[in-house]
């Protein structure tokens, strides 16, 4: 009997990773097919981000830099849609740009969805999409000096000088709020230049992995709010009062996290059942 038990726990330790893949696959798929819409409580950081948008006077222009590509769109695209919908709902005028070459396609899609959901918004009247510009830090420095010089034309080829909205702004200082949704160190540049050098209120959205890097900036007041990962996006959706991809995705994320925790616990039980810590058994990740 003891030999059988030992053999079972050994088998658990050396489990074929394809079984784990299968469990994760089921855990991801089931909640997406049959959503239960678990309620999401908003954290103080996301509430602060929401409030920063609420505090902007109606009709103001907001600089929105959406710096991500399709690899992390699962986290940042729902965030972008929620923030844009919030802006449109409050009759704010987002001036949108990206520092990622594969970003414009996602932004067009986000604008399409948010505009349609908020009753239709007109390009160059309710928002401006400047498109992509290479140069990261240099572009952000340039945004503090001469935006129309940096972007002589918008994404669709219209001269920015001819867009009435753009005549109202030409520098960071003309915007009452900066919004940066980023999956890279571009966020650091915006904090250093936009928020710190030009003293602009700024909210930041990042991937869940990166979010903890920006807590010091939040506590120092350099950023007003922080939306971290899909959870943050789901919280923002809740505050705006919409059910988007983030809130749907949270069901799947919840179940997969539970599966991973159960697997980790099972692995540790097996470890001690087989005689405690010793050199690893089983293959690679």
């Amino acid at each position: 009997m003891a030999a059988t038990t030992k053999s079972f726990w050994h088998r658990i330790l050396g489990i074929d990773r394809r079984w784990i893949f299968l469990l994760v696959g089921i855990g991801t798929t089931l909640p997406l097919l049959f959503p239960v819409n678990l309620p999401v409580a908003a954290s103080p950081r996301v509430k602060a981000a929401y409030q920063a948008v609420e505090d902007v006077p109606e009709g103001s222009l907001v600089l929105v830099s959406l710096d991500y590509e399709p690899d992390i769109m699962a986290e940042l695209q729902p965030m972008a849609i929620a923030v844009l919908r919030h802006c449109f709902r409050r009759h704010l005028k987002p001036v949108i740009l990206t520092l990622y070459p594969a970003g414009p396609g996602l932004i067009e899609r986000a604008l399409e969805i948010s505009s349609a959901a908020e009753g239709g918004r007109t390009r160059n009247e309710d928002y401006v999409f400047l498109g992509y510009k290479s140069g990261n830090q240099a572009v952000i420095l340039g945004l503090g000096e001469n935006i129309r010089g940096l972007f002589p034309r918008d994404f669709y080829g219209t001269s920015t000088d001819s867009i009435p909205l753009m005549r109202r702004v030409n520098s960071f200082t003309d915007f009452p709020l900066l919004v940066n949704l980023s999956g890279s160190s571009i966020a650091d540049y915006y904090i250093r230049i936009g928020a710190s050098r030009y003293h602009r209120p700024m909210i930041l959205g990042s991937t869940a992995v990166m979010a903890s890097d920006y807590y010091p900036y939040l506590s120092s007041g350099q950023i007003k709010g922080l939306i971290g990962g899909m959870k943050g996006a789901a919280e923002y959706e809740r505050l705006v009062g919409i059910v988007g991809d983030a809130r749907h995705g949270m069901d799947a994320q919840s179940l997969v996290h539970v599966i991973v925790v159960l697997l980790v616990l099972l692995g540790n039980v097996a470890l001690f059942a087989t005689g405690g810590p010793k050199p690893r058994i089983g293959g690679g990740a």
Binding site: I15, A102, G105, R109, A138, P216, V261, A285
Partner: protein
């Protein structure tokens, strides 16, 4: 041969640092000009990168190196998308826009999604209570994984506040220390380069 680049680096570095702290109009104008130069350099860097990518894969195809067929795909994609982008533009309704939405976006998302499977498998094998430090890491990881998703609150009301404390106190303290260290390191490296002490960027030590 090295004197020229070192002088250029010194002058550019000190000028840019000075400009950062001078709010005068003339200083800001100078910065705008330098930014335009940077923009031009970035554009040429993009061109150089594309040409380098082309040359590397072309060589691989010519020599029939391992996986050369993938290089053909890269060359066709690079050439085709660049040509169509220049001719038609890259907005939503164009061919490039459709390629982006139907090929690039799903492929990139799929590649990144695979991480979930590998992380789950890696977590199962790596999170083992082998010693005190590993046990601390294991417990923290479990609290964070459960406390940061919606279901955590259902399981125990204390999970969300506990995760908030972990993020706001130990995490924040460590991140601040790391950020300060990185900042000081960056300043010292920059000074070494500007003052010509570190010349490794010139090549050959």
């Amino acid at each position: 041969m090295r004197f020229g680049p070192i002088v250029v680096t010194f002058l550019t570095g000190t000028l840019l640092i000075a400009i950062f702290f001078i709010p005068h109009h003339a200083a800001q104008e100078t910065q705008s000009v330098i930014l335009e130069w940077a923009d031009i350099v970035y554009t040429f860097a993009l061109l150089l990168g594309s040409l380098s990518l082309w040359a590397m894969h072309q060589k691989k195809v010519q020599q029939r190196g391992e996986g050369w067929i993938y290089s053909v795909v890269t060359l066709v994609s690079l050439g085709g998308v660049t040509f169509l982008g220049v001719v038609q533009g890259v907005a939503g309704g164009t061919v490039v826009g459709r390629v982006y939405n139907m090929v690039n976006a799903p492929l990139a998302s799929t590649m990144f999604s695979l991480l979930a499977f590998f992380i789950a498998s890696a977590a199962f094998r790596a999170f083992r209570a082998r010693n005190v430090e590993a046990t601390l890491l294991l417990v923290t990881a479990i609290v964070m994984m459960i406390g940061r998703v919606s279901i955590g609150e259902y399981m125990w009301k204390g999970f969300p506040p506990l995760t908030e404390w972990l993020l706001d106190v130990p995490n924040l303290a460590a991140k601040r220390a790391v950020a300060l260290g990185i900042g000081l390191g960056a300043i010292s490296t920059a000074l070494k380069i500007i003052l010509g002490i570190d010349r490794s960027y010139l090549g050959r030590g």
